[in-house]
Amino acid sequence: QQQVRQSPQSLTVWEGGTTVLTCSYEDSTFNYFPWYQQFPGEGPALLISILSVSDKKEDGRFTTFFNKREKKLSLHIIDSQPGDSATYFCAASDTGNYKYVFGAGTRLKVIA
C-alpha cells in the first residue's frame, strides 16, 4: 500500500516560535501535495498545497517546501499562534488520480 509518513506525531511550540512538520513518501508518481488543517470537532480543511514542479510555496505565515530527490516535504509555520493549535495532515496524489493518501497527522499545540 502506498504510504505517506508524517512526523512528529505531536508537537508543542511556544507562541511566536517556528513550527516544522515533515512528511516523506514512496510513490514516485505522486506530484501533488496538499496540507490539511483540522480543528477538534471539524473536518480537515485545505491549508496550502504544492505541485512537484515547485520547491516552495508561501501563504502568509505558512510555507511548504518540496524536495523531489529526497521525496520529502515540510510545512513551516512562522510566528506560531495559539489559534494554530490543530492536527495537520499531509497528503499526496498524482493529478490524474483523485484519491489522496494521507499521513497519520501531527497534533500541534501552541502555548502562549
Binding site: Q1, Q6, G41, G43, P44, F89, Y98, K99, A104
Partner: protein, 113 residues
C-alpha cells in the same frame, strides 16, 4: 456556500447492528469519498464514487458497503457492525478537475459496543 453535510453527528450501535451514515454535498462535485480517521492511522479511504450509481473500492473496504444514489448523496453502510469499526468517519467531495482539493464534512463519530 458549498458544503458537505453528514448525518448523524454521533451514533451508537451494538455489535452486529445495521448502520447507515449519510452524506450530502451541494458543491456540484463529481467525486465523493468516505474516510475513517483513527489515531495513528490518519485518514484511510473506505470507498469513493465519481458519479451517481458508481462505486469504487478504497484501501480499507472490508465490512463496508456504499451507495451513490444521486450526484449529491453518498451513503456508507455497515450491515454487521463490529467494535473495530468504532471510528470517526468523514465524507468529502471534489471536482473532476485537475486533482482539485477535497471539501470535508464535519464527521460522524460511531461507537460500536
Amino acid at each position: 456556500e458549498a458544503a458537505v453535510t453528514q448525518s448523524p453527528r454521533n451514533k451508537v450501535t451494538v455489535t452486529g447492528g445495521n448502520v447507515t451514515l449519510s452524506c450530502r454535498q451541494t458543491n456540484s462535485h463529481n467525486y465523493m469519498y468516505w474516510y475513517r480517521q483513527d489515531t495513528g492511522h490518519g485518514l484511510r479511504l473506505i470507498h469513493y464514487s465519481y458519479g451517481a450509481g458508481n462505486l469504487q473500492i478504497g484501501d480499507v473496504p472490508d465490512g463496508y458497503k456504499a451507495t451513490r444514489t444521486t450526484q449529491e448523496d453518498f451513503f456508507l453502510l455497515l450491515e454487521l457492525a463490529s467494535p473495530s469499526q468504532t471510528s470517526l468517519y468523514f465524507c468529502a467531495s471534489s471536482d473532476a478537475g485537475d486533482g482539485s482539493d477535497y471539501t470535508f464534512g464535519s464527521g460522524t463519530r460511531l461507537l460500536v459496543i
